[in-house]
Symmetry: C4
Subunit: 257 residues, 4 copies
């Protein structure tokens, strides 16, 4: 699994300080976004207030990225390794990609989830799938609802579409028709494939761990046996030296006689 790079101690320290705040903010962000999408009876004022919350949170996430970049020792490498994070922050600026805003929360919540589920791949994967499904359903509903020939017009239908898409069944009874909705769909498919990659990588790293342990056990056995041989050889050498010393004594006795 991808971890916070150990060779960036200042970023790790920053993470420890702000992680809980950012997690809380991401939950607020998701709640505001969900409210805006799901409550169709909202007045223009309430809608504007929620938009302010969403935009401010987004700006805070952007500042977090900049701070982390400033703290990085090798900035170019940091940018290269966090291209996805940068894309998720910048892409929603373009009009047809606005629905991707909600994916910014996934990055932050996923970081928290990873720390909580350290080593328990099943929980991590299940949590991430649930998170991505919820967020993608919201985003696709937001994008599609107003389209004239939309087939995704309620949250239930959006969730049903998300499940059929993530499992790659794809009946085709529901599908996005707007450019925004299709970007959400593409993001969902990429996320599904990436999740599969994380699971495969986890199984692979578990194998390598087993390999190393098997190798180390044999190495230890070799060392234990070698130490036993060593001890015996030392005894032999001691005995030999005693023999040699006695012969010396014999010789010395002989000379004077």
């Amino acid at each position: 699994m991808v971890t916070v790079s150990d060779d960036e101690p200042r970023i790790a320290a920053w993470d420890r300080r702000v992680d809980w705040w950012l997690t809380g903010l991401a939950v607020v962000f998701l709640a505001a976004y969900a409210w805006e999408v799901l409550d169709t009876s909202l007045g223009a004022d309430d809608r504007a207030a929620l938009e302010v919350v969403i935009t401010v949170t987004w700006v805070v996430f952007g500042i977090d990225y900049l701070v982390r970049l400033a703290l990085a020792r090798q900035r170019l490498r940091y940018v290269r390794r966090h291209l996805l994070e940068l894309a998720v922050l910048l892409l929603p600026m373009f009009r047809p990609l606005r629905a991707l805003r909600v994916f910014t929360a996934i990055g932050v919540l996923n970081r928290q989830l990873r720390d909580d589920a350290r080593g328990r791949v099943a929980i991590y994967v299940a949590g991430t799938v649930a998170l991505i499904s919820f967020v993608a359903s919201l985003a696709v509903l937001d994008a599609e609802r107003a389209a004239p020939d939309a087939t995704l017009t309620t949250f239930g239908e959006a969730i049903w579409w998300t499940i059929t898409t993530l499992s790659t069944v794809g009946y085709g009874d529901r599908y996005p028709v707007t450019t925004e909705g299709r970007f959400v769909a593409a993001a969902l498919m990429v996320a599904g494939i990436a999740l599969l990659g994380v699971v495969t990588a986890s199984i692979a790293s578990w194998f390598v761990e087993n390999l190393r342990q098997a190798g180390q056990q044999v190495e230890k056995a070799v060392e234990v046996e070698a130490d036993r041989t060593d001890a015996q050889l030392s005894e032999v050498l001691d005995e030999l030296r005693r023999v040699s010393a006695r012969l010396d004594a014999l010789e010395r006795d002989r000379r004077p006689s």
Copy 2:
């Protein structure tokens, strides 16, 4: 493969005593459910009688869960590790999830199947796939049949839909339209992914077994060679001690002279 936890001897003893009874009950449950769904000429009385059989069986499964929980040494851990079992028992209480009742039989039958097919993954997987397909076809037919725009109205069509869904082909010529039917579909997709997980885990555990054997063989070879060296060294030491003893004798001879 998941096994009955070896550190819960009381649950294992309970399992040994009731397993055959529960398996029989699960078969009765399935038969009653299948009869109710497939025989459309049933009168209201027969239907009510079958409902009683189904409900009683369901209650017995609930009691089995409670007994196992009571016998568990670490109850919280038991609940956490059997979340799926709890969900399958409780979820059908909610109206749109009634069709999920039939999945409770899978848990019990699958336990029996696992004991019978111990170590033969192919038989276990084939049996589970057949079981899940049959149960999902029944459940989706039960849920969909009455819907106005249903495309799943006969058992043959339900089985065809189950096959296209489990293989993730998803033509979209048949698909559930009711909330109940969609929950069955989601359960079927999750079951398909879980089956894949079981197969992958089995192959993985078979690898680890091979790894351990390869490591143990090398360790054994190291020990055999070390024992041979030991025996030779002991011989050397014995010989040396004999030499030393002779030198002692020589010395003693010398002293008096």
Copy 3:
């Protein structure tokens, strides 16, 4: 990969004698079936003649199965291990499964392909996929063509449907509507999953081979080093015995003096 069981020498001998004849017969069978399906201008007489060829071939395949069963040492085990072969021979007797007849040729041709491609998984898989695709396209076209609401009415459309199904894309622009066609589709999906299983098992067995080789190399290294230690210890022991012999001589010299 599955191989002819080495513990059945009589079946292996029978295979060596009839394999080429059966392969030729399977090609004739496929050609006759393809001609019957693709040439719509055939008269009733020609059609009857082709049916005779197909039926005779089918009977010969059945006789081959019975001979192999008679030659088997453990008959029950043979039946259990060749359930698929038995199913492919018997199922087409039932009317809605007639289109499955053509799959009998796959078993025979696949055996030949496996012997030719021994160890080259890519060629074996590519050949089997091509064979299954061709056969499934013929069978589904045969089954669907006459149906009133059929979407698979030409060989080109049947091949297109086979490709979208095998890759599990399943657009749903073409799909079988008859029971026969759906059995062909189910067989195709199972074949696709089985192929994946063969590939996975091949990669797995290749890993185990590597594991054994790595273990054997270490074992050999242990043995080489142990032999060197042995040789040195023998030298030590020889030297010691020479010393002991000299001491004996010294002692003997001493006694008489």
Copy 4:
């Protein structure tokens, strides 16, 4: 990953000399093809000019294949190992396969990409997926646009179709209806499966590398311990010889007396 065969030094030398030229040519080819497909306002003259560029590039790719074949030591083996390359060059000669022309550029660009991303599977796969998606979208749009019942008539729709096909979701809201378009779709599905094969093979080769390293570590440990035992045994032998020498001296002293 497949690499330029090390046992063909003359082809490798040719590759080093022309790779950049061919890469540039492939980019020109792709640009000309994309321009022709995407700019619907092109006049007949411009269209003819672009066709000339495309045809000349195609001929150059053919000459490159012939030169490599002439430089190969084992020509038959070269043809057999580069069947796909030959197919991609020759198939577009047939009218319904004209849309496959654009795939010739992939072979050349992919070679460059592989050299740039040596060892970084993620970058290689991402680059290849992006390349194949772009090329397939162009080719399917080129093939489908003019068909009377086409559902793929804009580049956006073509890209959307490519994404749903590559991820095997296959909603069926868009699908090719022409023979040319279906060949592009089949090529896309095969490419998707081939990519999966490359990723699996990469993970597998990484495992084998780990296996070898673990084995070599143990072998090294065995050697280190054996060298230590050797050194001690040499010391024992030296000591023994010194003892033996002294006994010789004692004996010589004795003789004259």
